[in-house]
């Protein structure tokens, strides 16, 4: 079917050509000190001539620095997950790390062994993007079994302990959810409804908290799936009710579904209905009308997670990673009620 692939060149081939021992070659490719400049040059020339590239498996097996990170997640196509992954990738690429992605099935139960089996070997560095129960479970397993090589982002469904700083990178979406709710209340809305994505309990908690603070009984939460379509379906009843004047949505996609439902129900936005999302996804600013939403720096979180992991692995203090705090961005889908 295809040309025979020649036997790959090994460290010994390079050594022979350069007239040194294989160990010296190893030193050169690992930038070890204690190599004479002339020797180094000879070896490098041989490497170039032969097109030698080290075998990662052999390296890992021999106990060399791994330079790879396994990312555990359930869905690489959700906006938040995809952006976080991007952030991890960016940072990992810059640091010369390889990324392994292991996708878990959200509908499946995983034993401890299943989770550990996703790593290339015991104790391999891992980042969990924890946005649901499955990934949160995986995070807990790894945290328990190999805390020194594990970092997570997100971390819902979790009573976060005081000292999770050294392994959990997350956004304070709870506080900003409360802020968004208060903003709507301050515009004069009698109450705010919440359309929930599966998981992301923090946002819901922030919303509930703000209502409680205002002495308002929280309306029943409406549950949606992750897709725009499911949000549309879920919102049909809500938008048909003229008493409903403000809806906080678990993310932008849901908000788009609500907006479409409102359009179909002939309710004007924001005149009849205010809608707020989460994510500030690329489309939000260019929607008609532009969506009021919350900027969530998932990419920064991804970068931060990688940097944190690297610090645990290599010790030493690289600059402490930073990222933007969540921020409410008021655009044109929110305003005072009853301007029909």
């Amino acid at each position: 079917m295809s040309a025979a692939e020649p036997k790959p060149v090994s460290i010994f081939d390079v050594a022979k050509l350069a007239g040194v021992s294989h160990q010296t070659v190893s030193r050169v490719i690992n930038d070890a000190p204690m190599v004479a400049d002339a020797t180094r040059a000879k070896v490098k020339a041989a490497i170039a001539e032969l097109g030698y590239r080290p075998n990662r498996s052999a390296r890992a097996l021999a106990g060399g620095a791994v330079r790879s990170v396994t990312v555990l997640t359930t869905d690489t196509s959700l906006y938040g997950t995809a952006e976080t992954l991007r952030g991890i990738e960016d940072a990992a690429r810059a640091a010369g790390f390889t990324i392994l992605v292991s996708v878990l099935d959200p509908d499946q139960d995983y034993t401890e062994a299943d989770v550990l089996g996703r790593l290339p070997h015991d104790g391999a560095p891992a980042i969990v993007i924890a946005h649901d129960e499955t990934t949160t479970g995986a995070m807990q397993v790894l945290q328990r079994k190999q805390a020194g090589a594990t970092v997570a982002t997100g971390g819902e469904h979790l009573d976060i302990e005081q000292h999770a700083d050294d392994w959990l990178v997350s956004l304070d979406d709870r506080t900003v959810a409360a802020r968004a709710t208060r903003y709507l209340l301050s515009m004069g809305h009698a109450t705010v409804h919440y359309l929930a994505i599966p998981s992301k309990a923090n946002r819901q908690a922030g919303w509930a908290e703000a209502l409680a603070d205002a002495g308002i009984e929280a309306p029943e939460v409406v549950h949606s799936g992750w897709t725009v379509g499911s949000a549309y379906e879920a919102a049909l009843e809500l938008v048909a009710d003229p008493e409903v004047t403000a809806i906080l949505c678990g993310n932008d996609d849901l908000a788009f579904g609500v907006l479409y439902a409102a359009h179909r129900a002939d309710r004007s936005v924001p005149g009849d209905l205010s809608v707020i999302g989460f994510d500030d996804s690329p489309l939000a600013a260019y929607h008609v009308p532009p969506l009021t939403t919350v900027d969530l720096d998932f990419r920064g979180v991804g970068r931060g997670a990688f940097e944190l992991l690297r610090q645990k692995l290599e010790g030493g203090s690289h600059p402490r990673p930073t990222w933007r705090s969540p921020e409410l961005i008021v655009r044109e889908t929110s305003g005072p009620p009853g301007r029909r």
Copy 2:
């Protein structure tokens, strides 16, 4: 900082506990024949008791079946790429394969060695999601160096040879682009403009072809970046021109940008302006108004790419993978011109 991680259990530990040689353990974990049922059971019990999991690096090094695929791409957050990746993941997960993702920088030039260096070892199985020049280049390198272990999806900028079937999985977006253009022409539009994404030459070629067939001189192509924002900017001039009544866009995101630009310019859709996208992204059906677009089965292509690779690797004929052909989905952003 964390509990000491105990030394991982190896095949020898299992062997000792089960009272057999390590080789027999190897046979059991590889489902080799020639193992007595009783022995097999003993070994399996020992594995369970010890929580043994094979070390992938050791396996790979010893020449065992690799069961991993490296995916090369430039941007995991673009819709088409993300969906293709998802398709690959789905199929790989079902087959028990591990996914390595290697992200290339679209702004960088890669030598042959750079590309090969992205693989864990020489000859490692790879899938290239080729949507731009960088990835197309990588595809060509791997195709040349290790055709037997390489498959690609997409493949723009490429004079596709006759017999690429056994390594290239792609969608015929060129034909459907022509079809979309003809559809607009048939509605009475004098011409159709094209807003191009970077790359995806096929779509542009289909558009040009349809215009040429109709004896219409193609208007100048307008170029956009990948983001909605860049499309908005790029479309400003186009939507300001009342002579422009139909715009075919390189993908849905660009179409959304154009729609927003049209809205700001007070041009009604589809009354004043028809807009068509590509992708049928999740939002398309729920946009206001719902977007006319082309269904592109990227996820199916991803699955197909993986299956094709597996066939090359393992021989034997698994069922030939299939996926949906591109299809024009007429919704509400397109119609006859001049209905203002």
